[in-house]
Assembly symmetry: C2
Homo-oligomer: 427 residues x 2
């Protein structure tokens, strides 16, 4: 049904009649009026959520061996708009979340530079600042998709929740590097964190000079401890693991470090057995958050909703299919559509109670799109667990329950996939 026709029908009061078909009209109950009879709570210095929202939490897999190393998921189907609230931004760490005193905090830049420098947090905040909305996504996002057969109880959260979107403020790394005076032979940066893992990655100098931020704020306030308080790297569009948190040091050098955190993990084993050492740019992703796995809907009008993003550039289009990819309908993108940030997509839909499978597919400005599951595994094989960005399908059953709509892979072994026997976020 096109949007204009939909609104004309709206004018005739069709929506609600169909939307509420079968629901008993119980306008209100005794509790509805109580708040008007009670003096409310006083002004407060820092607000908290309503107690009625306490079940909206990050998902932590019960299968994790420890909570001191691992990840948890942003509850995507419970969020609105595009901003991920600070308390629900996904987490990923390797030795717990350090507690850093901002007064003792220092950032050292040294190595192939004219002058090694030490910055306090106050110094960093004195530099010209930049604020941009960027998604951050774990390279391991979507790894549930490696399972064969697919997990029937999958939710949008467990499918793609190792991703979040926030407004980041910081100083361009390029300015700090110019301060230090990068020598002409330098090619790589080795950022290091001050967590107990002293987490380390290798970052090409080109990307650093382009748009990397040394960030100290997240949605207007200081970074949350689990997002790297007080300072982290934000590397727009690139895998989360390279966006070093609790940043304390950057070594300027001419070779990558081949650090533990980029060799024991985050390399990609392809179908042909070859290995990609570095896969930095996050490919296009989309996830329908409503209706999605674990939810239950009634016949009538629904606005299909979801999120899409790509590390290659701006999202240009998101399509939804109701026939497993034979035909596609274009969704609306909520403005402003920002580059390297999440976008909210929406599509009006009328469900009459038939069994149907919903697919979503995002396109970016470079012409990239998401593969189907079959296409993905032909290229990547199943000895890997990163960079899964295949289309996520949701199946709506006639009773309204929504379950994982992915189909089993033929010709592939059963099991969780996932290559190395390291920690697995969610099985």
């Amino acid at each position: 049904m096109d949007r204009r026709k939909f609104f004309r029908l709206l004018g005739g009061g069709v929506f609600l009649a169909s939307a509420l078909k079968g629901r008993a009209q119980a306008p209100w109950d005794e509790k509805t009026f109580e708040p008007t009879r009670t003096l409310g709570a006083p002004l407060s210095e820092y607000g908290g959520r309503s107690p009625f929202e306490e079940e909206v939490v990050r998902y932590i897999s019960p299968n994790l061996r420890t909570r001191h190393s691992g990840a948890d998921f942003a509850p995507l189907e419970k969020l609105e708009g595009v901003i991920t609230p600070n308390g629900l931004h996904f987490e990923r760490h390797h030795a717990g979340v350090p507690q850093v005193d901002p007064k003792s905090y220092r950032l050292v830049i040294h190595g192939m530079v004219e002058r090694p420098l030490v910055f306090t947090l106050e110094d960093l905040k004195r530099f010209p600042s930049v604020t941009r909305t960027y998604f951050i996504e774990c390279a391991g996002n979507g790894q549930n998709g490696y399972r064969n057969p697919p997990d029937p109880n999958l939710t949008a959260t467990r499918s793609r929740g190792l991703a979040s979107n926030a407004s980041w403020t910081g100083v361009p790394l390029a300015l700090l590097l110019k301060e230090a005076g990068v020598k002409p032979e330098a090619r790589w940066l080795i950022p290091e964190g001050m967590d107990a893992a002293m987490y380390t990655r290798s970052l090409p100098l080109e990307k650093a000079m382009e748009d990397v931020l040394v960030a100290y704020a997240q949605n207007g306030e200081a970074l949350r401890p689990e997002q790297g308080y007080p300072v982290r790297l934000v590397v727009p569009g690139w895998e989360g693991s390279i966006q070093v948190k609790w940043l304390r040091r950057i070594l300027v050098t001419d070779l990558p470090a081949m650090a533990k955190d980029e060799t024991s993990e985050y390399t990609d084993v392809m179908a042909d057995g070859k290995v990609w050492a570095f896969t930095w740019v996050m490919d296009p992703e989309s996830i329908i958050t409503y209706p999605s796995g674990g939810q239950r809907i009634k016949p009538g009008f629904h606005e299909i909703r979801g999120l899409a993003w790509s590390g290659h550039g701006r999202i240009t289009k998101v399509e939804v299919s109701f026939d497993e990819g034979k035909t596609w309908r274009r969704a609306t993108l909520e403005p402003p559509v920002e580059r390297l940030a999440m976008v909210r997509f929406k599509l009006p839909w009328y469900w009459r109670g038939e069994e149907v499978v919903l697919w979503s597919r995002a396109w970016d400005e470079k012409g990239n799109t998401q593969p189907t599951r079959e296409e993905f595994f032909k290229k990547w094989g199943r000895n890997n667990r990163y960079h899964y960005n295949a289309i996520q399908a949701w199946r709506v059953l006639p009773d309204g329950r929504v379950v994982n709509g992915d189909r089993p892979l033929l010709g592939f072994a059963q099991g969780p996939g996932g290559g190395c026997d390291g920690e697995v976020f969610d099985v």
Copy 2:
């Protein structure tokens, strides 16, 4: 100094030398390395701020007679970017913050409609949604400016902190009204809240049909209780008082209600003694947050930073003056510059230690700008306390302290101003 020259100097390492002039180089202390020796905190379901950020709070005036009716201020000079974090969004209520159970929540639309309707929260979320970033500003923002002589200890927070900026998600009120079927003779809506004040205002139907949202989410999660949980009106660009929180009922009618909350307050007494019954649209505002009152700066480079917004439309320009309005320099606006939302402005500046007064002035797409203090009082007089949007001046003293740079008004009486002897937010 223009931006290009500034960056060339940067390349020569000039910045840091001048920025750190006089500071003892104490690179780090014992505490700097501790976090690498301690296993960090585990994954958590809902994140909180670092304990080191606990002093970043809303400002509550010690002069309030009660905290169950009044307002508190967003700590503007402690925020970054444009998003106001949910815990720090300014508050305003008249009988405390009600606690509303979303299961019992109902929104009634009745009066001059074809069919009166009752919506649950679930119903509202089924409708097509819209997400937009909008500022909300109290009509009483800036009222410290009515004081004569000016308060020397004014801060950016106390000057313009009854304003905040967030991404709001909700259903267009127009859709709900179409569902109910508005009768042709209707002209006004009377929204009512379910707080103990049963706070009520009158809203013209035209504006309701244009862009008013019945909102249920704030920066991705449910509204905070103090911002109206579970449902509020968002009336883009208009005074905060009309954006009824804890919305429970909308009466569709043909006359304004002339309710208590728009007659005992929020009418504007002009200099000529006449009274504006309704002043809905918020005029352009800007506030330099750094350097601002209560801060202390050192000679060297500073990025002057601030926020600007207007209820008339998009901000087109923000200017800064260093000579009390004789000449102006144009600041950079951080993209994306969204309509009826706050914008962050920035200007590189080199302070050599001279006494100087900083002014900022915002222009919107309709050609409106801020008046000087003198211009403002010529028009509005001092028997009022709303809609103060005159330029806020900050004076930088030679020792680096920043104080209120506003000058006393000549020919006006001394005192707080403020007309009616009602609650005053901050004296």
